[in-house]
């Protein structure tokens, strides 16, 4: 196996957690097999005792005496019919409890695993998800988590039972006919070879099948998430073809998986059947030589058959487990993906402070990028004083958003350190760092909750009044009231029922309500008209009082309000200072500034 058994131990936990159900299942399975052994008994009662003349067994006699009923054939017939009904009731009662326990325990295992997987997925960075694709994660979450159920089912019931049957049948057969049994054992190496040969392939084909299905799912997901472009660019037919191609791949993979499974079964069966044929031949020879009776041969063959079935079943279970392996690996892979950002043991919380006193931020020699060998930030150092507002300026691709994402510790730098109030973020409790930062990102990332819930997302205990105040400050109150259900309107996915500027204002209201000492604003006013921008900037300015603010902006009107401007180029700070200082220096900032002003050449005239 690709992993040794120890690697699956985490999955075992999910199974064992359902131990009460599992114990019940084991016990009931035992009871159920006893009950099914009783199945022919009513018929025997009918034929042998009611209709034949044999003595009625003690149990029945005693029961009837207690009930003071005489033993007549008609009574016995009724007893037979009733006991057949009684057995049915017993058997179906057991079946119901068994199916019920399997479903509930099995689903619980699956959902437990899925919830933990979801837990892990949420703690991985968004870059991980962009790279891996959300469709892929969803596929593992909804499809592959079933592996734990298959694992429990495969491991718990059959193997123990089959091995028991194999062992006992083997011993009995050995007692009866040691030579013939030995002959039968010739098949064992063949079976082992087949299990080795196909096990690997079964695992691989089922992995291919899962991957093909996942690719299809990823494709459907990405297309459905980009519907406006799909429609505007008229790629429907092209997408259909892609779907069909991916679907064909998935079909082939599934079909191959099914073929392998059957060929595996066939080969095992063939080996066993050839063993039987050999026994038949040798046994026949011995019967003819009168070294063995026909009856003995038949009995031996019957035992052989049970041994045969149990072996085949065991091999099938093995194959099944190998197939499930692909899914298990896909789940474990994700559960074991290291979080890029992890709390060290003994991390301390940041000492609390009033939001209006701000925090000291510093970056010292920070290098960071998303792919090895391609740093976005290169040895960057900067410092923001408590209560200071710093604007980050620079050409697109200079690393501005990346810099901003290091402040709430979405990532850890490759080199250097980011610190808050002089303490390295990595030594602090993650939740205490993030609770100090209110963030407005380029993409507003709204959730399909109500408007009020979206605004209170960073502060779930906020009162309606506080929510409204935040909305008012962000200039969102008016349009919210115009929505069909006001603050209780549920947003569409990604806020599709709002305009770009409206979404932005909700994101700002959310950050305002968060009331944190550090504000990180990544183009808070792009996609907003001039009037709204002015309103928002005013609101933000009030908010920024005493807080530490890092704002990324292109608009001069926003930049000019900053206490200090940091100019970024290709991942390093090239200039820093006030607007005036930078203009006088005549560097990159001055050039950017002139270029923007050049865009409005007739300004003076108007």
């Amino acid at each position: 196996m690709a992993r040794n058994l120890r690697a699956y131990r985490p999955l075992g936990g999910y199974i064992l957690r359902q131990w009460p159900s599992l114990v019940l299942i084991l016990v009931l399975t035992g009871v159920s097999s006893v009950a099914s052994a009783l199945q022919p008994w009513p018929l025997k009662l009918l034929v042998d005792y009611a209709l034949g003349n044999e003595a009625v067994p003690e149990v029945v006699r005693w029961t009837l005496e207690v009930l003071s009923v005489g033993i007549t054939p008609v009574v016995l017939i009724v007893v037979a019919a009733c006991s057949s009904l009684g057995l049915f009731v017993l058997q179906s009662g057991l079946d119901v409890i068994l199916s019920w326990s399997w479903t509930s325990a099995g689903q619980r295992m699956v959902f437990d695993l899925a919830a933990d997987l979801f837990h892990r997925l949420q703690r991985l960075s968004f870059v991980f998800h962009i790279r891996q694709g959300i469709g892929e994660s969803l596929s593992r979450l909804s499809g592959d988590t079933y592996c734990v159920y298959s694992l429990a089912h495969g491991l718990l019931v059959s193997p123990a039972h089959q091995i028991l049957v194999m062992g006992s049948m083997g011993v009995v057969a050995w007692r009866l006919e040691p030579t013939l049994t030995a002959v039968t054992l010739i098949t064992v190496p063949a079976l082992a070879a087949s299990a080795m040969f196909f096990g690997e392939r079964l695992q691989r084909t089922s992995r291919f099948a899962r991957e093909a299905e996942t690719r299809l799912m990823g494709f459907v997901h990405q297309t459905l998430s980009a519907i406006p472009i799909v429609q505007a660019f008229g790629t429907r037919l092209l997408n259909r073809r892609t779907f069909q191609r991916l679907a064909a791949d998935a079909t082939v993979a599934t079909q191959r998986g099914s073929l392998f499974k059957d060929v595996y079964g066939t080969v095992n069966g063939l080996a066993l059947t050839m063993g039987t044929a050999l026994v038949l031949f040798l046994g026949g020879k011995r019967v003819m030589a009168e070294a063995m009776s026909v009856g003995d041969l038949l009995v031996f063959l019957a035992y052989l058959r049970s041994w045969h079935d149990a072996t085949q079943e065991l091999l099938r279970t093995y194959g099944e487990l190998r197939s499930v392996n692909a899914s298990m690996n896909r789940v474990l892979e994700m559960l074991e993906t290291p979080e890029e950002v992890r709390e060290i043991p003994g991390a301390k919380p940041l000492t609390p402070r009033r939001p209006h006193s701000g925090r000291h931020l510093s970056m010292e020699g920070v290098s960071f990028g998303y792919e090895p060998g391609r740093p976005v930030l290169k040895g960057l150092s900067m410092e923001v004083m408590p209560g200071e507002m710093v604007a980050i300026v620079g050409p697109s691709g200079a690393g501005k958003s990346t810099l901003a994402s290091l402040i709430p510790r979405f990532f850890d730098p490759w080199e250097g350190r980011v610190s808050m109030d002089g303490r390295d973020l990595r030594e602090l409790k993650l939740s205490s760092v993030r609770s100090q930062v209110a963030l407005v990102l380029q993409d507003p990332f709204l959730l399909p909750l109500t408007v009020a819930e979206n605004i209170a997302y960073g502060r779930p205990d906020a009162t309606m009044r506080q929510i409204e105040e935040a909305a008012k400050m962000a200039g969102a109150h008016e349009f919210i009231l115009r929505l069909p259900r006001g603050y209780e309107t549920v947003l569409s996915e990604r806020g599709a029922n709002l305009s770009g500027g409206e979404k932005k204002r909700l994101a700002i209201a959310r950050a305002i309500l968060r009331d944190a000492p550090v504000l990180v604003l990544d183009e808070p006013t792009s996609a907003v008209d001039a009037r709204t921008e002015a309103e928002i900037m005013e609101a933000l300015e009030r908010l920024m009082q005493g807080r530490t603010t890092v704002v990324i902006a292109h608009r001069l009107s926003t930049i000019r309000r900053a206490h200090r401007i940091v100019v970024l180029q290709e991942g390093t700070v090239v200039e820093s200072g006030t607007h005036q200082e930078l203009l006088q220096r005549g560097g990159l900032y001055a050039r950017l500034h002139t270029r923007q002003l050049l865009l409005i050449p007739q300004e003076g005239v108007a």
């Binding site: 018929l43 054939p73 017939i77 049915f88 079946d95 199916s99 479903t103 919830a115 790279r131 694709g133 959300i134 994660s137 969803l138 997901h221 980009a226 406006p228 429609q231 505007a232 660019f233 008229g234 259909r240 779907f243 069909q244 679907a247 079909t251 079909q255 099914s258 079964g265 066939t266 059947t273 044929a277 038949l280 020879k285 003819m288 026909v294 998303y370 620079g394 050409p395 697109s396 958003s401 993030r434 990102l441 993409d443 990332f445 709204l446 959730l447 399909p448 960073g458 996915e493 029922n497 770009g500 968060r514 183009e523 792009s526 996609a527 921008e533 292109h554 050039r591 500034h593 865009l599």
Partner: protein
């Protein structure tokens, strides 16, 4: 939801040949199954106990070396292997065919569903959850497989064996045979009683699973907000809650299935017990021999086998119905925007752009909440129109009417005088290139993203478009240049870079109508300046609609349309509007008045 299976069977039809093979193999295996005990029987009877071979098997002795008993034993041993092989081969071929045809049917249905989803309007998608739709396409479409392979074929098989066994019993004892069939009416009643609740509950369970998927999808898509605001635990508890509710739905579905199974088993057990009793009494009265009763009871058992199968198929049918309902809900969704019958393609024109006219257009996404109100204006071929207005004034809605991402409630939009609803969608959309606020890049290579609207474009053309959009340089710096797959490493594309790729994509489409919804909002001033120049060469000879907040972009337009709360309040050139001293002037003052004065003092 009556007759939901009819459209589903349509997906089985193209595969009828394959399905016929499967059915054939199914019946063949019944015959082969019957051969299994024969070699042993011949061995025991004829070879070991010395009975003569039965008439029909005499030919066995003609086989080489079969004359001697040992030779015959060898042949029979060989026959065991052969019968096994035949049996297993037919089984393998059948499952192989089933696996293929099953997935293929589900995928055909999936492709159609996917196709339908892409045709449904933005309005529809705005109301749906992507995760749920995803599950419908990838999971629920399995219903057709379940219906055909899990219900239909076993039904045929069970019916065939039922008829055969009934005929055998009829030959033995007509009255008892009739009595054996007495269980049919109560079984029918059970099916009638349980079919609906089983289907309903399966549907509920699948709905819940769809919602779980949707929750996961939504959370992962908004992950930066979730992490930044520290709400991971909250989302997780929502997920756990939802999975608990899914479990409940699951158990409810299982409960009704179990009740049904117990019911079916009960009816059959009572049937057996009654016949046992009656038969026993017959034996006591000596009108039936014990052996006769035993034989009859064994046939009864084999008759009830297929009957149980038949009844159980109901629950398979119900499970398929749940998935089918979720699929058909989407399939049955009326396309709001579609080709009118008998529409003609929009005639192509050479290079000079097109005349676009809005005539008293009212439109919106939700009933009674129009976003645009009686908007009228026109553009001439080759003109650039800037749309200006406050956030939420309806600018994006206005431009989305042109490629018919949305249809107006009232009024009409015409291109060269033709109502765009009267031309084919494909021809209309091929005339329009768009740059949207959200760049919507797909996880394809950069080159594929740029040629998204024109898949046949040469690398040269792709590069030219990228260069015109100011994207060539940074693309070359990517690890694999134009072949870099966005997403896998696309994370390091900044907002401005993504936007430039989306502009290149629109440029390469080279359509006579160009729509740009804030093409430069996340670009820095330097990039914007170079880009605006590039865009200007591009806009020459095209009808261009541009939404922008930066007046630097707006003022170059041939005409500016000022929107306020869904109405056109002003229209004209930059100079005209400034002179008018209205809303536009106020915008202008807000943006430049301060900037200009600030610059003056700085």
């Amino acid at each position: 939801m009556k007759r939901w299976w009819l459209p589903m069977l349509g997906y089985a039809l193209p595969h009828w040949k394959c399905l016929a093979y499967i059915a054939g193999l199914m019946f063949l295996s019944v015959g082969l199954e019957a051969l299994v005990p024969w070699p042993l029987k011949v061995l025991v009877d004829s070879v070991l106990q010395g009975d003569p071979l039965p008439e029909k098997l005499r030919w066995l002795e003609e086989l080489p070396a079969a004359g001697s008993p040992l030779g015959l034993v060898a042949w029979l041993a060989g026959a065991t292997v052969l019968v096994y092989l035949l049996n297993q081969t037919s089984y393998t071929i059948r499952t192989y065919l089933e696996a293929g045809v099953g997935v293929r049917m589900a995928m055909d249905l999936g492709a159609d569903l996917f196709d339908r989803l892409q045709r449904l309007s933005l309005r529809y998608h705005g109301r749906q959850m992507t995760g749920d739709l995803l599950r419908r396409v990838t999971h629920d479409t399995g219903c057709v497989k379940q219906l055909v392979l899990g219900v239909l074929l076993p039904l045929l098989h069970a019916l065939a064996s039922l008829v055969t066994l009934f005929l055998i019993m009829w030959n033995m004892d007509p009255p008892l045979a009739i009595m054996a069939m007495m269980v049919a009416p109560p079984l029918g009643l059970l099916i009638k009683l349980f079919a609906r609740p089983m289907a309903e509950r399966t549907y509920d369970q699948q709905q819940m699973e769809g919602q779980m998927m949707a929750l996961a999808e939504q959370t992962l898509s908004a992950l930066p907000a979730v992490q930044a605001f520290g709400r991971e635990d909250y989302e997780e508890s929502r997920f756990r809650q939802m999975s608990f509710r899914t479990l409940q739905a699951y158990l409810r579905a299982v409960a009704s299935q179990l009740q049904f199974k117990v019911g079916v088993g009960g009816v059959l057990a009572v049937g057996t017990a009654v016949i046992m009793g009656i038969g026993g009494i017959h034996v006591v009265r000596e009108s039936l021999s014990v052996g006769g009763l035993l034989v009859f009871l064994s046939y009864l058992a084999s008759l009830y086998g297929p009957m149980t199968t038949l009844a159980y198929l109901t629950s398979g049918f119900a499970a398929a119905a749940g998935g089918a309902r979720r699929v058909l809900e989407v399939m049955g969704q009326e396309e709001e925007i579609k080709d009118m019958p008998g529409c003609s393609p929009l005639p192509a024109t050479g290079g000079k752009g097109r005349e676009v006219r809005f005539e008293r257009v009212t439109a919106g996404y939700e009933k009674d909440r129009p976003v645009l109100k009686e908007v009228s204006f026109e553009t001439f071929p080759g003109q650039t129109v800037a749309v200006v207005g406050a956030t939420g004034a309806g600018k994006s809605t206005l431009v989305s009417l042109i490629p018919r991402l949305l249809d107006p409630w009232e009024g009409r939009v015409t291109i060269d005088g033709v109502d765009i609803r009267q031309v084919s969608l494909e021809s209309l959309r091929s005339q329009v290139a768009m740059v949207l606020q959200d760049p919507f890049l797909l996880p394809l290579s950069v080159a594929e993203n740029i040629s998204y609207g024109r898949p046949g474009a040469s690398p040269q053309q792709v590069m030219e478009a990228a260069a015109a959009a100011g994207a060539h340089e940074f693309i070359q710096r990517l690890p694999q240049g134009y072949e870099t797959v966005i997403g896998e490493g696309g994370a390091s594309l900044s907002g401005g870079e993504r936007q430039r790729i989306s502009i290149a994509r629109a440029l390469l489409k080279d359509a006579p109508i160009l729509i740009m919804d804030e093409p430069t909002s996340s670009l820095d001033a330097g990039t914007e300046a170079t880009l605006v120049e590039a865009l200007e060469t591009l806009m020459a000879g095209r009808t261009t609609f541009i939404i922008a907040h930066r007046l630097s972009t707006v003022r170059r337009a041939d005409r500016i349309v000022v929107l306020d709360e869904g109405r056109v309040v002003e229209m004209g050139t930059h100079e005209e509007l400034l002179a008018k001293n209205g809303l536009y002037h106020r915008f202008y003052d807000l943006q430049f008045g301060k900037a200009a004065s600030g610059h003056g003092t700085g």
